[in-house]
């Protein structure tokens, strides 16, 4: 038996579904990434708190997230957290997460923890003289942090954030495991119905490239643009 491929036919039949999955990926990435940046900032600032308890709690949380796989976290958020909430509230079946909500939450928390470390090290990397110059002008420590140090730390982190963004696009494929109808899940469904496995998965890979390659170029461009001596 010779194997024959139907790339053109596959494209015609699969394209509408693929396109929908494409927009799901875009949506989940944008929401997840914004959430991750906000969380990263809060975690980084929280870790500079004077409260030892808060600092310890945040370090524990970050290590917990960094020490477990994203896929496991997604399952945990999607299946376990609603159960725990219902158990705590004694309200069986009252709370459940949609898969997109759980996916955005999972990506945001996971990436937020990694990126908080980026911001934190960027804060520590800002020259001590910047603190002193701010204090000497009469700014309080808090004002110096928020008005002088953080803007520089964030500015210097932008290239790294960009890399995380590209990684997140690719990691959205894990969301197929919690039933988010993104690219991979749609491809699996299509392939199992049509047996056009080679064709559909090839188009899947191309779809990811269409997002991630230009994005990577954009990141490079921004990196070049913002580099200040």
């Amino acid at each position: 038996m010779t194997m024959r491929f139907f790339f053109l036919e596959c494209l015609q039949r699969f394209a509408p579904s693929l396109l929908k999955g494409f927009w799901v990926v875009v949506e989940v990435t944008i929401l997840g990434f914004i959430f991750s940046l906000v969380l990263a900032l809060l975690l980084a600032i929280g870790r500079m708190s004077k409260s030892r308890v808060l600092r310890g709690f945040l370090i524990g949380f970050i290590e917990l997230i960094r020490g477990t796989p994203l896929l496991v976290q997604l399952f945990y958020i999607y299946y376990v957290i609603p159960l725990l909430i219902n158990w705590a509230l004694q309200t069986p079946n009252a709370v459940s997460f949609t898969s997109v909500f759980a996916g955005v939450l999972g990506l945001g928390i996971n990436y937020g923890c990694y990126q908080s470390e980026v911001i934190r090290s960027a804060i520590l990397a800002v020259h001590k003289g910047q603190w002193e110059a701010g204090m000497a002008l009469g700014f309080t420590e808090r004002q110096v942090l928020f008005r002088i140090i953080l803007p520089q730390a964030i500015h210097n982190s932008i290239p790294v954030f960009g890399n995380y963004l590209v990684m997140m696009v690719k990691d959205t494929s894990l969301l197929s495991c919690i039933a988010v109808s993104e690219l991979l899940l749609r491809t699996q469904a299509y392939a199992s119905q049509t047996f056009q496995t080679v064709e559909s998965y090839t188009y899947l890979a191309i779809a990811y490239l269409i997002i991630s390659l230009p994005l990577a170029q954009l990141v490079k461009y921004i990196e070049k643009k913002i580099r200040i001596a």
Binding site: H127, A133, A136, L137, Q152, A229
Partner: protein
């Protein structure tokens, strides 16, 4: 020649500062009057910069020993931020804010801390940058400026807070020789305008010219304190004589930046 003394702005009484068991300042007493220009000189490691940083509370002295208009600046109830607005500081390494233009560097303090309107702050900032010879660099970012230009922006930034006292921590030590003159000229103009200043410097010609008083420090102590003429022509202590002879032997600073002794 010592100017008639104005009111006492700052009184330092037996200032000691220890870092990890190492006593860097071993009991400094110094009184600063309004309008006075005091140059602090001495070999590296003598504690000059630490003294200045203690005055601005960037370092905390070991005990309550600094008084600003009679107020204990280390008292818990003392408003340190308000005090720092009045005691401006210029650093050896400029420390301009890199993401802000020259003008923004100058206006940031007044707008945020003195609640000056953006418009008024810009106007004053422009005037200050003109005063330091950088009227054409308002929108330049620090990394595009030379060291001398950056330091002049830093001086304008300090002036924008209308300080009562300016602290200069080796303002020309990080500069290429040809840029020292332009910065010293700005500081010299300030001195003539009656600004009260404490200047840590290695520029002997400059110190001799602008100071009302020279404070010579060595090993954490003030070894000699006198008017510049006496200090440079007839130093009283062996340590000062030795220091001056070394400086002169190794090329006097006045050859740099067009300084004249």
């Amino acid at each position: 020649m010592i100017k008639p003394a104005g009111e006492i702005i700052l009184k330092i009484d037996d200032l000691k500062k220890t870092f990890d068991g190492l006593e860097v300042l071993k009991g400094i007493s110094l009184t600063v009057h309004s309008g006075e220009v005091i140059c602090i000189i001495g070999p590296s490691g003598s504690g000059k910069s630490t003294l200045l940083r203690c005055v601005n509370l960037l370092e905390t002295p070991d005990s309550h020993c600094i008084f600003y208009h009679g107020e204990d600046i280390l008292d818990k109830s003392f408003n340190v931020s308000a005090y720092r607005k009045k005691a401006g500081m210029v650093f050896q390494s400029f420390n301009l804010f890199p993401l802000k233009t020259a003008l923004e560097n100058v206006t940031m303090g007044p707008v945020t801390l003195n609640k000056l309107s953006k418009h008024a702050a810009k106007e004053e900032g422009t005037q200050l940058l003109n005063q330091v010879g950088l009227g054409d660099k308002l929108d330049a970012y620090p990394h595009t400026l030379s060291g001398g230009q950056q330091q002049r922006v830093a001086i304008a930034r300090a002036l924008a807070m209308h300080p009562e006292l300016l602290l200069f921590d080796e303002p020309t030590s990080a500069l290429d020789p040809e840029m020292i003159g332009e910065v010293l000229n700005v500081i010299r103009d300030l001195a003539r305008s009656g600004m009260t200043m404490l200047v840590v410097t290695h520029e002997m010609g400059f110190a001799r010219e602008v100071s009302d008083r020279i404070v010579f420090m060595d090993n954490g102590l003030i070894v000699e304190e006198s008017d510049p003429e006496t200090f440079f022509t007839a130093p009283e202590t062996d340590r000062a004589r030795e220091f001056l002879s070394k400086i002169i032997r190794h090329g006097p600073s006045e050859e740099r930046g067009g300084e004249e002794l």
